[in-house]
Symmetry: C2
Subunit: 399 residues, 2 copies
Amino acid sequence: MLFKEIKGGSLTSPKGFMAGSVSSGLRDEPSPDLTILSGSEKTISSGVFTKNQIVAPPVILSQRHLSLDSPIAIVVNSVIANAVVGMQGMEDAEKMASMTAEHLGISKSQVLVCSTGVIGVPLPMDLISKGIEAIELKEKGHEFARAILTTDTRTKEFAISVDISGSEIIISGTAKGSGMIHPDMATMLAFLTTDADISQECLDRILRQAVDASFNMVTIDGDSSTNDSVIFLASGESEMGQIQGGEEEKIFQEAVNYVCIHLAKEIARDAEGATKLIEVIIDGAANLNEARIAARTVASSTLMKAAVYGNDPNWGRAVAALGRSGIAFNEQTLFLSMNGIEMLKQGTPVKFSKDVAAQSMDTNEVEIYIQLNNGDYSAMSWTSDLTEEYVHINSAYTT
Amino acid sequence: MLFKEIKGGSLTSPKGFMAGSVSSGLRDEPSPDLTILSGSEKTISSGVFTKNQIVAPPVILSQRHLSLDSPIAIVVNSVIANAVVGMQGMEDAEKMASMTAEHLGISKSQVLVCSTGVIGVPLPMDLISKGIEAIELKEKGHEFARAILTTDTRTKEFAISVDISGSEIIISGTAKGSGMIHPDMATMLAFLTTDADISQECLDRILRQAVDASFNMVTIDGDSSTNDSVIFLASGESEMGQIQGGEEEKIFQEAVNYVCIHLAKEIARDAEGATKLIEVIIDGAANLNEARIAARTVASSTLMKAAVYGNDPNWGRAVAALGRSGIAFNEQTLFLSMNGIEMLKQGTPVKFSKDVAAQSMDTNEVEIYIQLNNGDYSAMSWTSDLTEEYVHINSAYTT
């Protein structure tokens, strides 16, 4: 294996990063809800953000700081999204940045801000402000991973080491998933660190490509949020010199993709009410864009997701979803299998035992494979099954 | 009121139509599953069909017959969709058309064919063939409405009379909704009849516009089907002369819209597992297309639908969905109310009693109104709430 998992790794596994968190009082019970991750002065950063037109002020502020400066620190609060609260929102995001900057002795534009949680509720800035002052920075990446959670049932962390031109580079990531209880916690956040020395341009390119192949291929319920952010910090503190284009960049890209895909699958696996991870593979598409659209459309079918929950080998729902994806294909060349069991070949149903297929689906990972036989491109998308528990969680406020 | 509802009306209320049905044996228990509607030789017809790329053979055949001829009869079977069954599918659809043509003494290209039900299962043509021969045509529009149902819990019929230039015109419609149990019954069918005398060109135009304002604004789970069809037959047997452009066409268009919107709302109300009809109104959009996209996107949010089920006045979910719709608007001018209770004004949350709002939602119709303040166009979309029962129904095949 080219990449080696670092067991128990966290965002502070790569050299040059510190993190810490506090329980500032945003949750009903005491539990970490405010956290800072910081690199050193040499750190460079890149970010990819929500495409939703309703953008939370912390996202706007972070985008601005990334264009003005190369931020080296991130402050994150969970529980409250600081979104759709009128003018107050930007003032509060600015305050979070300046207080964090003061606390760390850096300039305000070196700080990125992320918030996740309920929409339409202003931040209690007295709690946030006391909280930021109380954060002690140590090598506490796990604390960071815990503090950013909302309705996630577990932390999501993954770190690997990769050998590039004889030097060991560490890449680490943590994420929180799409969960919403009271009333709206639709936010995916992910943070990546590495000790690699890398140019700004290369970091931007690599992050964009990794996000497209991973987080942008996860769909839980089709709702994008106002706060989605993926941030990548590179400290440059590895022994190795700067990563060069060509082979080195290629290996680094693959390693970052590997970390992001791992986290993306964790998000799908831990989605609200989920009992299963569903992996949709589209093969034989005319181009990458069509492969991705097709994979995402099939993965977003609530009917397919409900069928998988019930161990129902209902391939017709996957095919109907493919049909509405808008990509070009020929019904007569379609091939489909679920968990390796052939169900459709050259557009014609294959006889298979429904009981055997249902049994093979009665596990926590289901693979739907579709071969379009229309070209050389493929893509994967991940989602969870749709369960009664999902509906229960998302309709919980009942009089 | 310009339009007068005809209580107990059916597709055979307008002059010039006959219908009949049989229980051919497609269902487990005896119940109508095969039906024919027929006009007279003077009848003209128009159709609008699924945009899914996987198109069922009966849809392809009906499109061909509409381009070759002006069909005057429709044969419909429920239970089996005759979709994704390989080459067999087109042969069977052709056979249904020719057997119906023979039974009625008309030519094959005068017959439209619709099928709805499970995907991937071939039609038992022996049952269909005996069934068609046994159908007696009378004024039995209600039988037609019953025979086309799949998982619908009730028939959906609506007929009105409208005064145009001093003559009474009757317009009637029936529909079946989107329901899927075993394994795939994702089909919306609707049939309209009128005794109006109208040109082909005008009928086509009016049907397309009515469908865009009604059936195309219903979203249950985002999955379009392989068989969706809306067919309009005009017998021309009213006392009135041919409908002229201008004012007469305008009134007729409004009347057809009125029937289609009524049926569209019935489909949403009777969606799988639904306890509520949700009406999303977008006002103040820059153009009609954007208004419709926005309304449909908000209506398709599973998070919003789950919240409405739980009587949760969770306006943040509607706003987040609006944000991902891709239409242009300004967050600072947004206004939102639910069941008339103001929740967002100029992009800033309004204080309201959650308990009062939740109580107002504890009924079978919930209205979400969004004013964009960005233009003069508006649109409505309809959906149902998302319930545990929906998931249960759609995951029913469990080992």
